[in-house]
Amino acid sequence: MTLSSKSPTPLGSSRAARALVFAVVGAPLGYLVGKYLARLEDAGVWTAPVLGWSDVLALFLALLLLGVGAITIIVSASRETLGRKIDPEGGRPATSVQALFYARNGGVLALAGLMLAAPVIVRAVLDPVPPLIASATMIGLLALLLVQIASNITVWIQSDELMRRATAEISAVTFVILLGALFLWAAGEKLGLLPVLTLWDAATVMMTAYLVIAGVVIWRRGLAS
């Protein structure tokens, strides 16, 4: 049976039902949390942190990465579910090697999200950040980065040639585009034509560009199907 010959109704309706449940639960919950925080701020107990555009963007990306990473890890925990995702035609259970590969991929994404969110959250909660907390956060980030690099190398080794090709393309396109874009911005900044960017702004832009370009390459190479 081909994918196109399957009726989309059950999958579509279950997705719609899940979206509806999330909306029904999430909307009032968000409203109540917001109202509670506003009340705390009015009472002077809590002050809402002032976040720059790059902080908001970093938190959005972090949530996205954490969400996708968590879903990948959850799916890879069930070899039957993972098997259906990998091979919708056959639907055989995934092998333990495949499950570990996808779990590691999910872990890499979740770690990236955690690392992206940590500096923003620490700064938002404790401003100014005490040197001890800042140092501890930095050491934690360094440790997480080392774990992520090791995981990325393992994922690269276990990947097949299309996956490696796609990874190389994403890296190359991101480098070339950002090299030009950041040079132009830096030149404009030096000439007093453009506002000053911090390294955090640049890092967030780089992460955004990487994820957008990854999406395009994955779609073009048919890795999403």
């Binding site: 990998i86 091979d87 035609e89 097949d160 040639e161 299309l162 190479r221 048919g222 890795l223």
Partner: protein, 64 residues
């Protein structure tokens, strides 16, 4: 580059996952090869040719 991978696979009644397993690549790679979104490396092309018992030229045709 065009290829006859889908036909050859169908003749043997193999799914994309079956072929992927035999070639030790992911199912997505087979899908990308069949839909022309990816041209294989030379080692993979040789592997495919050996698996189907045909020459590379009979499986892959240059569109130019």
């Amino acid at each position: 580059m065009k290829n006859r991978l889908k036909v050859l696979r169908a003749e043997r009644d193999w799914s994309q996952a079956d072929l992927a397993e035999k070639l030790q690549v992911s199912r997505q790679t087979i899908n990308a090869l069949e839909t022309g979104k990816y041209d294989p490396s030379l080692p993979l092309a040789f592997k495919i040719a050996r698996l189907f018992g045909q020459s590379i030229e009979t499986i892959f045709q240059d569109e130019a």
